[in-house]
Amino acid sequence: MTREEFVKQCAKMGIGISLFPGLLASCSEEETPVVAFSGKVLIIGAGSAGLMAAYTLQKFGIDFEILEASDRYGGRVRILENFADFPIDIGAEWLHTSPSVFGELIDDESATGEIDMIPYKADTMYRWNGDQLRRFNIVSTYYGEYKFKTSTWFQFFDQFIAPKFLDKIRLKTPVVGIDASGDQVVVEDDQNNTHVADRVIVTVPLTILKNNFINFRPSFSRPKQAAIDKSIMPAGIKVFIKFKEKFYHDIVQVSVDGLRDSERIYYDAAFRKGRQDHVLGLFAAGEGARELTDLEDDNVIIEAVLDELDQIFDGKARQHYIKHVVQNWSAEPFIQGSYSFGGENYEDTIDFLLEPINDKVFFAGEAMNKDYWATVHGAGLSGIETAKEVLRRP
């Protein structure tokens, strides 16, 4: 599924939400859980879902700790600073719903702070078919998302969420085993250290579950394993290139043979940022990314990207090139892909993805939000809902 289709799906779901507010049960104030749980929770993974789960537990005064495999928190939300005269989301970048969702995530009437946003509706949209660049601006009538103007998704978490519990995030602690067969849950990291808790919330990327990076005891039920196998987290890559001049359009979608069902989009990363630097972004997922992520290193990747851009823009890419950065998300050992979702019949799949193990090990993540799957805020809301589920159970 392409991001276009995904956005349409989100729009449909948006209509559904307005008709059936119960779908957003996790967001309504009257759904504030009765806290029946008291004990310690371990959260595995410090991406959007993990951080929002922690934020929720913190609100209710629950003891918790986050174990994060990499040397930073944020997961696929990451910032690139000092590359241009504005900070760049080198991971998740767009907000695929109304910015009012910040209120749902923060859920605190006394919270103070402001976020500058851009309504992201490109003025010039083109499609490259491998031979010709064709305008399809009429699509912009139907296309519309949001982006951060002066900050990034990472700064949202870094500024408003993570500071409340920084001391509870343990970095460089990849989890390799979770044993829920006893009274408590025993979590083992790659240094053979054990961490004991009453409940565990697993928020690792879907690929980590699919590739059996973590050994679960007892193992997943058959339907849950089938749901994990069926869910999708395609290859993903982002590239940013700084140029002397802006010779490109707001959006150019690459739609060549073999890539029609995947995504490869060049876009003006400085669009409406109000800055001087000219930065072109490339976001690719699925087969559109695999062509690049499977290349041997970043130098080969940037050469392939510049070749394609020179083909599209008559040699102007190398002519105006200044510098670049490649973020190969498929090569990140604790990520291994782009965004994730349940695939066809995802609603049934999500129920099984969320299925806890022995009522002690719970799951959250972007693929597990029925309303906003494959999004940062969807992951965050999933983390909140799973944390509340833990709180509701004694």
């Binding site: 910040f102 209120g103 919270a111 946003m117 309504p119 010039t124 009429i138 009538t141 359009h249």
Partner: protein, 189 residues
């Protein structure tokens, strides 16, 4: 295609039609008007008959009318833009005298004005606290197709598609689609 040539041609056609005819106000229209079919708005218009002739078709006749249709519409896309379209269309209406259904093919020239939201501030409760807007004017030549039906002597309904190109020297041209549904009220005795 040269933009100036398009503007000039449309303008001269409309001017010539208006100057040579003695327009008769025939109908007024009001309708739901939407950008792309999904961003809602409203529109009012008037319909002048510039000339009419009857053409035999089988055992009945077909009335062919040359119409002029000035109109003004507005639409909104929350958090993105508000727009106004002021335009004038010149079209041919074809209707068999034994049928209530008719179709109109027309070309139009208009002024399309967007007030675009370029950025805004959101507080942590998710409320928008400050919007920055930018005015964007365009010329808007269009082709249109309307399908209508007379319900009574003085009342009818119609649906209409407008496909055009918004043009300005400040940025690239972009095609636009408008969808309209509404009613027409006869003003002649």
């Amino acid at each position: 295609m040269n933009k100036n040539r398009i503007f000039t041609t449309f303008f001269l056609v409309l001017l010539a039609a208006f100057a040579q005819a003695q327009p008769e106000l025939n109908k007024a229209s009001i309708g739901y008007f939407s950008h792309g079919g999904i961003h809602p708005g409203g529109k009012i218009g008037a319909e002048y008959v510039l000339s009419e002739k009857m053409k035999p078709v089988s055992e009945v006749e077909r009335k062919i009318s040359l119409l002029m249709n000035p109109q003004i519409g507005g639409f909104i896309r929350e958090n993105f833009y508000t727009g106004i379209l002021v335009n004038n269309e010149l079209g041919l209406q074809r209707q068999r005298t034994d049928r209530k259904r008719y179709s109109i093919y027309s070309i139009g020239l208009g002024y399309l004005h967007f007030v675009e939201v370029v950025d805004y501030t959101v507080n942590l409760q998710g409320e928008i606290t400050n919007k920055t807007r930018e005015n964007r004017p365009y010329f808007f030549p269009s082709v249109n197709y309307a399908l209508g039906r007379d319900i009574g002597e003085r009342f009818g309904i119609y649906g209409k598609l407008t496909y055009g190109m918004r043009m300005t020297s400040a940025r690239e041209n972009a095609t636009q689609l408008f969808v309209e549904f509404g009613m027409k009220l006869g003003l002649n005795n």
